[in-house]
């Protein structure tokens, strides 16, 4: 039993990395615009489908497909933010919930109509298949690749937020949008760019995750809970908190399903309730 632990942990970390990649956009959006975007999973789904179309229908290499996934989701995010989301920033949570559920329904229906309701296959490049040995443990190459990419991106994001001027503007706007605007920060632009980036990352996560999470039109609803969970537990607007929460949830979900398969998703929901009880403001909530 315990001998499987390193493998389970590794899978959990891989799963957590995916959760982080998709959820980080949601976290920043929530922390920045205080907007509850239940449709965030739809952007991931867009990325996933673009990746499938790129590799299977257009025959493009996997790397290119990933870039395409990122770009498509980012563009979708940019357009929707400018046209629709922007007008709802000050609205009540109920309005935001209803709007994003509506968007989600529309995206699911569109995906079903275009691609059918089945699971999408993915063709991974040869180099990423198979297993390899790391620290005496047999791990999947693809999952290793996943963790690598996500950690690199996470560090990049952290650097962006802490070292660049744009990152400083993001942090200022998260802390206090009104004052930041008063200081001359183009808050609207910060919102736009962040939303676009966050959607793009979600799209990338959706594409990378086809092998792990699967891809079908119900993706946004199926995984919505997980993304929200990561954000709420980790604390909206923080990178470290989101990463920590994603890892914890990823590991617990995988471990739960492995060691107590009969409990299914029960473990993760119970864990969420417990964590929210203990940390009602998230693991690492920025003090307002």
């Amino acid at each position: 039993m315990l001998s499987a632990l390193p493998g389970v942990l590794f899978d959990g970390v891989a799963y957590g990395s995916l959760l982080f990649l998709i959820s980080i956009g949601l976290s920043i959006t929530l922390g920045l615009m205080n907007f509850i975007n239940l449709a965030h999973g739809a952007f991931a789904m867009v990325g996933g489908y673009v990746c499938v179309v790129s590799t299977l229908r257009l025959g493009l290499p996997f790397g290119v497909a990933l870039v395409a996934a990122f770009a498509a989701a980012a563009i979708a995010g940019a357009v929707l933010e400018r046209l629709l989301y922007r007008r709802l920033y000050g609205r009540s949570p109920l309005d935001q919930v209803l709007f994003t559920i509506g968007l989600t329904f529309m995206s699911i229906a569109a995906a079903t109509w275009i691609f059918g309701s089945g699971q999408q296959p993915v063709r991974l490049p040869e180099s990423l298949l198979g297993q390899t040995r790391v620290l005496g443990v047999d791990v999947g190459v693809y999952r290793l690749f996943l963790i690598g990419i996500v950690l690199a991106l996470a560090s990049g994001l952290a650097l962006l937020v802490t070292r660049t001027r744009f990152g400083a503007r993001i942090r200022a706007s998260v802390d206090d949008a009104r004052t930041s605007a008063g200081l001359g920060i183009d808050v609207d632009r910060v919102f736009s760019v962040t939303f676009t980036l966050g959607s793009g990352l979600a799209g990338l996560g959706g594409a990378l995750g086809i092998d792990v999470l699967g891809l079908d039109p119900t993706f946004p609803l199926k995984y919505m809970v997980y993304f929200l969970l990561v954000v709420v537990v980790g604390g909206a607007g923080t990178i470290v908190g989101t990463l920590a929460a994603a890892m914890v949830l990823g590991i617990f979900d995988v471990a739960g399903k492995y060691y107590v398969p009969s409990a299914g998703a029960f473990v993760i929901y119970a864990l969420m309730v417990v964590l929210l009880l203990l940390f009602p403001r998230g693991l690492l909530r920025r003090a307002r």
Partner: protein, 321 residues
């Protein structure tokens, strides 16, 4: 004494009476649609219970199906194991759902809007999984059937065409509705609206905000449980979807359609939604979902001030009723 001119008074209005008379007449006018009509009433009651916490107290919940499902399974399990008397089953279901609501209120009502959203969602999912796993009791994915619901008052059997079911449902829904109506027009109801508008102000005038919210959440839970039990007893079947997220989400949509924050919103919305769904979704489920989504998006943008604004507009008119 013209002093109460600017308060919505609690006399039954002509429109209201017309509504219930019409509901009773459905029995005579649409005898072949009684099953759908029962569904409309049941779901309408369920929506009313959500409106109590959403439209009146301002709590956005994505997991209200938890209480509905608890009621359904309670009535179902009781009927399966020999306790088929419908009325007491109804009461038991209401109490069980109230208990679930009461216990979960302490975690569900803490924190800011998003946390509450998440916790209510999580509780709904938790119960869903629990029901899924406890297949021995709930029938799991296959659902709970084999219920022996006894005759109502020992005299009226629940027949296939749903005649007894409809009158039973109508009577129960009407009674519970009257209770909800009283609550809404009472000082307690006023304090709930005050809490929705400004919990800070309410605390500053001495209102025990948390206690009131727990109270309304429990009452709403009980009502949802009764609706669930009605569903179980009239269809003699309980499927997992009674606890599912779609139920909770569809409910929100019904309140959008009918308007939250007034008593008939849930009933009207439920009628619109279910009738439309029975006609349209049969044709093409994908289209149904798409148009539903589009409707939500449009409603948020074009209803004056969004959904919550529409509530306010209604109260403005209501103040002069």
């Amino acid at each position: 004494m013209s002093v109460a001119f600017s308060l919505p008074d609690s006399r039954w209005r002509a429109g209201e009476i017309a509504f219930w008379v019409a509901a009773a007449l459905v029995y005579v006018i649409f005898p072949s649609d009684l099953v759908l009509a029962s569904q409309v009433l049941i779901t309408g009651l369920f929506a009313l219970s959500l409106d109590l916490i959403l439209g009146y107290a301002g709590i956005v919940s994505l997991g209200h199906a938890a209480m509905f499902g608890t009621g359904a399974y309670t009535a179902g399990i009781l009927a399966r194991h020999g306790w088929g008397e419908p009325l007491t089953g109804l009461v038991a279901a209401g109490l069980a759902a109230a208990a679930v609501a009461f216990v979960t209120s302490f975690i569900a009502l803490r924190g800011a809007d998003l946390t509450r959203l998440m916790v209510t969602l999580g509780i709904g999912l938790l119960l869903y999984e629990t029901a899924n796993q406890a297949a021995e009791w709930t029938g799991g994915v296959d659902g709970l059937s084999d219920m022996q619901v006894r005759d109502l008052f020992g005299v009226f059997p629940f027949d296939i065409r749903g005649r007894t079911a409809y009158l039973y449902t109508l009577a129960v829904v009407f009674l519970v509705f009257c209770v909800a109506r009283r609550i809404v027009h009472s000082p307690f109801g006023l304090s709930l609206r005050g809490i929705r508008e400004s919990p800070r102000r309410m605390a500053a005038i001495g209102s025990p905000v948390q206690r009131r919210l727990v109270a309304v959440y429990t009452i709403a839970g009980a009502i949802a449980g009764i609706a669930g039990a009605l569903l179980a007893q009239t269809t003699q079947f309980v499927g997992l979807e009674v606890l599912g997220f779609s139920r909770s989400a569809d409910l929100l949509i019904m309140l959008v359609l009918g308007g939250a924050g007034w008593l008939y919103g849930g009933l009207v919305g439920s009628a619109l939604f279910l009738v439309a769904q029975s006609r349209l979704s049969r044709l093409n489920p994908v289209y149904w979902q798409f148009w539903l989504g589009l409707l939500l998006v449009l409603a948020v943008f074009f209803a004056p001030g969004g959904i919550t604004g529409a509530i306010a507009a209604r109260w403005q008119k209501g103040g002069r009723r």
